[in-house]
């Protein structure tokens, strides 16, 4: 019997999937090698241990956050596809009419880029050519253990800029003098020490 055939017999025996013919072939092998059955029984035990000890399904940590994060990426995918489809249809019917508008938009975009980028490179140097799906994967993750906090992410993919607005943080009192921070401010000691060092 070929090596591959015996391996298949052994695997099927462990899984309890041998038909009668295969079982009699294996019985012959057991008769010829008395240790073989004990060896395969050991493999069967390992299989049973694996099945009982390793769970088939494990919820990812923070499953709700898992879904919400994923669905935001999906929404971005959907949003990225829609304008592209619309634009394609309009472009087909109004190809020539849009040419002057496009030229004007290019000029405006150039000047806007000059104003936004201190180097005047129009913001195209890094990642300007990145596709929409890549941008969606770079979406900032905002997660708070404290449920009263919420955040809004304002992303300008073209400008490669995003802002995170956090709501619900306790206001910092106006009378805190950071240059003279002490225990009465209620700020963490480590922070106060680092501020002290910084201001010296």
């Amino acid at each position: 019997m070929k090596k591959e055939q015996t391996e298949e017999l052994f695997v099927k025996w462990v899984d309890g999937r041998l038909n009668n013919e295969e079982q009699s072939q294996l019985d012959e092998l057991f008769a010829a090698d008395p240790e073989l059955e004990a060896e395969l029984t050991g493999a069967k035990e390992v299989t049973a241990v694996l099945q009982s000890e390793i769970p088939k399904s494990v919820e990812p940590p923070y499953p709700d956050f898992f879904n919400s994060q994923l669905m935001r990426k999906v929404d971005l995918e959907i949003a990225a596809q829609r304008p592209a489809e619309k634009a394609a249809r309009w472009w087909e019917s109004l190809r020539w009419a849009w040419a002057p508008v496009g030229a004007l938009a290019l000029v405006l975009a150039f000047f806007a880029g000059q104003r936004m980028s201190p180097q005047g490179n129009g913001g195209l140097a890094d990642g300007g050519a990145a596709g929409s799906s890549e941008k969606s994967e770079e979406l900032p993750n905002v997660y708070f253990a404290e449920k009263s906090l919420t955040a809004e992410v304002i992303a300008d993919a073209d400008g490669n800029v995003s802002a995170i607005v956090v709501e619900g943080i306790a206001a910092i009192s106006d009378d805190i003098d950071f240059s003279r921070a002490d225990r009465t401010t209620g700020l963490p000691a480590r922070y106060l020490k680092s501020e002290e060092r910084r201001l010296q």
């Binding site: 591959e4 391996e7 298949e8 052994f10 695997v11 462990v14 060896e39 050991g42 493999a43 390992v46 299989t47 241990v49 694996l50 099945q51 000890e53 390793i54 769970p55 088939k56 399904s57 494990v58 919820e59 990812p60 940590p61 923070y62 499953p63 956050f65 898992f66 879904n67 994060q69 994923l70 669905m71 990426k73 999906v74 929404d75 995918e77 959907i78 799906s133 994967e137 993750n141 997660y143 253990a145």
Partner: protein, 208 residues
């Protein structure tokens, strides 16, 4: 909005909308149907990835990547294969791409050592930190951790074959489809992986 057809234990029951109906709704652009599919299958995907790479933070990110790829590929899904087999196929691709990337980034450092639980990547990027519950921690510290150590010693193909068969319960043909190999290869991998695990676990018994 609560996803339709979702169940709290992410398992399946008769009351649930079948996967195929949810898939049809997704193909029509219904993202809430997709969220139901995610809720139903995320546990299996996360467990599979976690068993393959043994790194919680990356497993979380990679599971996200799997489902995003599923969403993009769903319009092409034709129900010739079972949805779960197709899902494991995408999971397989994402995990192998990640391993390949790790190999390139690590300038040839890839070996099965990177799959050890102790080798957690420094940059746990997007997933929040997660602490095991005491009962989980106990389980991890005993037989479960012995098995995980033994699994981490197997090469990637053997580990995946074992996990798909023993843990996820796929049959030989489904494993062959997921791993894009012949039935004979699946049998051979199963035989040698079981033999190696048997030897590793008996060594563990001997040392303890």
């Amino acid at each position: 909005m609560a996803p339709i057809g979702a169940s709290p234990d992410a398992g399946s029951s008769d009351q649930e909308i079948p996967d195929l109906e949810l898939i049809k709704a997704c193909q029509g652009g219904d993202s809430s149907a997709f969220e139901s599919l995610v809720t139903r299958h995320r546990g299996k995907v996360y467990a599979m990835v976690q068993n393959m790479i043994k790194n919680e933070a990356d497993a979380w990110d990679l599971s996200q990547e799997v489902f995003l790829k599923v969403w993009k590929a769903l319009p092409k899904f034709e129900a010739r294969a079972k949805f779960s087999t197709w899902l494991y196929r995408i999971t397989h691709n994402v995990v192998y791409d990640w391993l390949r990337k790790r190999k390139i980034d690590g300038a040839g450092e890839l070996d099965d050592g990177i799959l050890n639980q102790s080798d957690i990547a420094a940059g746990a990027r997007t997933s929040p930190a997660y602490q095991a519950r005491p009962d989980e921690a106990l389980q991890n510290s005993e037989l479960g951790s012995k098995i995980n150590r033994a699994l981490a010693t197997l090469n990637t193909e053997h580990r995946e074959t074992i996990v798909l068969r023993e843990v996820q319960g796929l049959d030989y043909k489904e494993i062959a489809k997921v791993m894009e190999c012949s039935l004979g290869t699946v049998m051979s991998r199963l035989y040698y992986a079981r033999k190696k695990l048997q030897s590793l676990l008996s060594d563990e018994k001997g040392t303890n």
